[in-house]
Symmetry: C2
Subunit: 242 residues, 2 copies
């Protein structure tokens, strides 16, 4: 390498340092909701940063230069959980100056809905754990704020769009569905009025099957009409209430 090459290299460093000043990292964080044991849960991982020792954080990663935002969130979900074909929706972007201890990182938050029982994650080997929303006091970074924002969004959407069926198995009883609504909304619902409301939306088909292995009178099993499954799996862009 000649002295001239060196000068060129140095100039390049200058230029890149300037770029670096303007460099802001961009990441995606996924709030992955699950439902089990009559409780709304979120999938968290132990933070690997010293600053947040002992705290959990959402699943996230930097966005690669060759992938768009939705692709990045799908990749993270797939890599971390092995899940594919899940409901994902962008919620909000967070960009406080001090939100990441090791530099300026703006993050785009997504929420996701998965059926815990159906997909068996290798959660323990991964340091991944399901946490009840109720019990979460604080998280690494600004992830508690992100979680709360996504929970609020989920609450807003739950009565207007057929999304939460992604949290349930293919077939479910109306009791299971009502318990899920109650878990998300944080209130108790009247059984008769709830059933009337759901019937009015006309989202469900009554399979002719019945619950099994319940220690009481079994209920009918229902499933989501197939025309709504399309919307539910990947709601792109603007969507009208059904």
């Amino acid at each position: 390498m000649t002295e001239n090459d060196l000068r060129l290299k140095t100039a390049e460093i200058e230029k890149i340092s300037h770029l670096d000043y303007f460099n802001i990292g961009i990441s995606v964080d996924c709030v992955i909701f699950g439902y089990d044991d009559k409780d709304l849960k979120v999938l968290l991982i132990k933070s690997d940063l010293e600053e947040f020792e002992g705290l959990y954080s959402l699943l996230g990663d930097l966005v690669r230069p060759d992938e768009d935002l939705d692709t990045a969130s799908y990749r993270i979900l797939k890599e971390r959980t092995g899940l594919d074909d899940v409901y994902l929706e962008q919620v909000h972007s967070f960009g406080s100056l001090d939100r990441h201890p090791s530099g300026r990182v703006i993050t785009v938050a997504y929420y996701s809905l998965v059926d815990i029982k159906n997909h068996r994650l290798r959660v323990d080997s991964n340091e991944l754990h399901w946490h009840s929303i109720q019990t979460i006091k604080n998280l690494a970074f600004d992830h508690k704020l992100i979680l709360d924002t996504c929970s609020a969004r989920l609450q807003e959407q739950v009565m207007d769009y057929p999304v939460i069926f992604n949290l349930l198995p293919e077939k479910f009883s109306l009791r299971e569905l009502q318990e899920l609504y109650e878990a998300i909304l944080g209130l108790e619902l009247d059984r008769r009025n709830f059933r009337k409301k759901i019937a009015l939306k006309d989202w469900l088909i009554d399979t002719e099957e019945m619950e099994e292995n319940v220690p009481h009178r079994p209920g009918k099993l229902h499933k989501l009409k197939s025309e709504y499954k399309k919307i539910a799996v990947s709601k792109q862009g603007v969507l009208n209430p059904v």
Copy 2:
């Protein structure tokens, strides 16, 4: 400079090139809505990019390393319009690979509501122009998509939150308000039912004043209750319907 220095420099270049590979620009774009002449309008500027010659684009800029997202959108609004103290709300982030011809730029879209009449912008000197939403066919970048997304968001919010009063002068007649709703929702409303609905929301105070200089029977002037102005100017975080 020794051979060893050179090796160090080269290593630094390697490292920075790697960073550069991960470098993604981040910008903010503002959809600034205004209302005039019974028409919903948006503030646009002639694109300065060759690729988009003749097309208009939204007002936007790169986010600086020392400002958060909300601050960036306020700055852009202030710089370009001189307006301060306006309603701004983050809507969605857009990150397609090919959305910017000169590189990878992810943008965070905000919408803003301003009273055209009240603030006299130097629009002509700035190449800034108000365009009727109706007439806009395409825009530079993916700005048509961003505009449509923000319009849809505005439509969603307009009946639930007292936001659109930011588009009107301090005092307005119920006819003006109804025309604004009609412009945003793109439909005609029944006058009696509209007034009943607005009365039910209890957002307004009846000032004892009357319209002036109208070529017909003048209507009463109303204004937004002050407790809602707070919310309306800067809706931070999660907000419940009123």
